[in-house]
Every structure is written in structure tokens, then in C-alpha cells.
Subunit: 217 residues, 2 copies
Amino acid sequence: MTATILLVDDHSVVREGYRSVLEKQPGLRVIAEAGDGAEAYRLFKSETPDLVIMDLSMPGIGGVEAVRRIRQWDKAAKILVFTMHENAGFAVQAIRAGARGYVTKTSPPETLVRAVMDVLAGKIAISPDIDHELALSRISGESSAADVLTPREFEVLRLLLAENTTEEIAETLHVSPKTVANLHSLIKDKLGVGSDIELVRLALRQGILTQLDLGEA
Amino acid sequence: MTATILLVDDHSVVREGYRSVLEKQPGLRVIAEAGDGAEAYRLFKSETPDLVIMDLSMPGIGGVEAVRRIRQWDKAAKILVFTMHENAGFAVQAIRAGARGYVTKTSPPETLVRAVMDVLAGKIAISPDIDHELALSRISGESSAADVLTPREFEVLRLLLAENTTEEIAETLHVSPKTVANLHSLIKDKLGVGSDIELVRLALRQGILTQLDLGEA
DNA sequence: GCAACGTCGTGAAATTTTCCCGGCGCTGGC
DNA sequence: GCCAGCGCCGGGAAAATTTCACGACGTTGC
């Protein structure tokens, strides 16, 4: 019996690579491809593949959100995240959203194939480099923003990264600029950073902000 | 007569994709693959391929630097940059470094093949989305940091993004912290940004800072 | 030779950041 | 019911920073 697979990646040439690697394996068959999260969700519902291989950084709704939606529709869906981000933060987000595996694109093809088999067999598959990252992040004790911040603080953090002035943020939240400034200061304190620049770097590392979130130049 | 190609990308599965697409074309043959810039340089010298297809974001020496080195060794080298960055800033950097083409990974396989043929024929190949980006960046008039800043200012900008405190930067430059603060202020003025966070965002857009530059979490 | 510019630095004003405080509402024991 | 704890909102004042105006010095180019 052969397992059916849905490939999700916004780079067509990359999908070609997955396909080439996977179809060398007996028992695997790629039945559909999607270029963004929304399309992935649609195709999952219509094609009901046994496994989804999903990239994270995509236009429109990203990979994490796509994972969430698919799992909401089918609690048993098997989704393997396959991405360039060698970053513990992304892995945590993806797994929490419901992914059953996380493999980085730097991994050799065998690792991908192995992970595909493991996830199909009901196991959780995490590539060694990410295991290592996760261990490091535990040791280094860098506070995970999503954990130490209250919901409101996290909201302010997102806005700080996305919008421009304290006043604008105060307006969208309907609070006084003073409150935003206070929270801004409190956030930096909780995350243990001294400057705004460090704050942005931390946000990048933890995947709260992505290079792709930026508007066009 | 068939053209020989060197593939450079740190993701082996992605190289598999290039290969699969390219080898469907008669007259093209992939003779070598590299996973980082240094290896690319070595292989270029030993294999002397007709064309190099190069990713930008790679560990160690990045794609732009690899392009520069290869072109330094062989002024006539034909290098096609093929990357995920849909960003005018990166394209400008790559072309200035000596690349003969710039195609984004979101492009359909035909665009890549077309660009390969064009570069082999001695033409400059730029994918339509980047053409559009370049046009926009001209129109929007966003100051390119590399252009409006003096060398010293640019140096300080890089350090601001990389290091932490004003004092540290002052020390590495052997000037007073006050000078660094003054330049910091002047830089924000010249680039037309109001806050440090905006400054980092602009740096990300223009490729002065990359998500990959960050240390591990 | 001198005007223009980049670099470095001072000092003082203006603004922001930070810290400490109180108030309000909710939740979870007891 | 009552109180402790915590998240949330903001005021006020001290502390730090950002910003601005200014001068000095060397280089470059006309």
C-alpha cells in the first residue's frame, strides 16, 4: 500500500526537488502540490493525503497557520514541516500548532525520507540539528518571548515591530502613549535586552518577526 | 555542444530540484554541486564550469562574496544568482559583485531555464518580479543606505546592528561614545527613520542585515 | 587658496526611558 | 466573603538619551 503526499512550498523548483527525492522511494506517491497556505488547506480537504510536507515561509497565510487550520479540520492529520529555519523558536511554534515533525532543509535527503517514514508510522520526527538547538536554548536560558510576556505585552511587542511610533500604537490599542512606553520598557526588561535593536534581533531569532513580514522596499 | 553547470546551494534537496529541472533540457549538464561559498570557489577552479547557479544565503562566506571571488579569479565567469530573496537590494548587491543574472525561487521553472540560456548566451537575465521591485524602489525613493551614507556612517550602522551598546562600538572604533551617538542620530536622519526599530527594518529590507547573521538562539 | 565635506568631539536643551507609585478588576485559595 | 496576587492602565519625577548647534581638523577638488 502506498502513502499519498501533499507538497507545500512556494518555490516550484524546490517542490521539484522534494518530488525527485521522494519518488525514488517505493511506497510514496506525491499526489498534489500547493504554493501557499490557503491552497494547501483546500487541497488537503479535497485530496486527503496521508502526509503533508510543509514549508513555513510562504506568502499569505504562513506555514504555521496552515498547520493549525489543517489540524483543526482533521485532528489526525500528519504534517511534517520542512524548512530552512534552523531555529528552535520556529520548531516550537510548528509543533505546538500541530506538526508531527520538523526537519531543516540543510538535512541530507536521507533524513527527510527517514522523517517521512517516521511520521507516517505515527512517530514524531525532529532533525538532529534542531534537537541540538532546542537543547541549547534550554541551556542558554534565553527567555522565550511568548512565554514570559503576558498577552497584552506580547501584543505590544508585535505592534512595536510592525508599526512605527509609540503614538500610533497607543491609538490602535486605545490607551495612552504613556502606557505603551511603560510596556515597551517592561518588555525589554523581561526579555533582558538593553536596546531596541537587540529587541528586534531577539524577535528575529525567535521568529516573532520574519524578514518576509517587511513590506516591499 | 553541451554546457556544464556548477550548482551552489546549502540545501541538498533544493539542489536536487535544480538538477531535475535542468537535466530535462538538452544541452545542459550539471557537473558539480557545492553547499557553501568556499566549496563553490574551489570547485569552480577545478571544474571550470560554463555556468554557476548560486544561492545567496549560505553558511560561511555568503553568495555575494562567493560571486566576487569567482569573478576575481575569472573575469569572464558566468554566474546566475537564484535565490528566495525578492528584494531589490540583494539583486543590486549581487549584480554589482559580478553576477550575470538574478532569478527568484518563486519563479516557475521555465523562467530559470530561460535565464540559464540567456546567461550562457552572454545576456543579462533578471526575473520580472525583481525588475518590478527595482522599478518600485526607484520610484518610492527610499534612500539606499549604501549610497547616502559615508563609509564611516555605514560602518557604524553595521556595528549598531551587530553589536550591542554604544560603548562597545565606541571602543571597537576607538572614538568617544558621544561620537557614536551623534552618528547614530545622523544615520537615522539621513535614512529618514524615526526609531531604531524602523532602522533595523530598513536594514533587513536592504539586505544589510540578514536573519542568518544572528547567532544561534 | 578656499569651499565643501567627512570625521570627531563638546555642551546644553529637548525628549525619552526608566522607575516607583496607586488604582482597578479579576481569579484562586481559604 | 475576604484577601493576596497579578495583569493592566497611567501619573510624576529622576535619569539617561537623543538631538541640535557649534568648532576644529584634515582632505579633496576646483
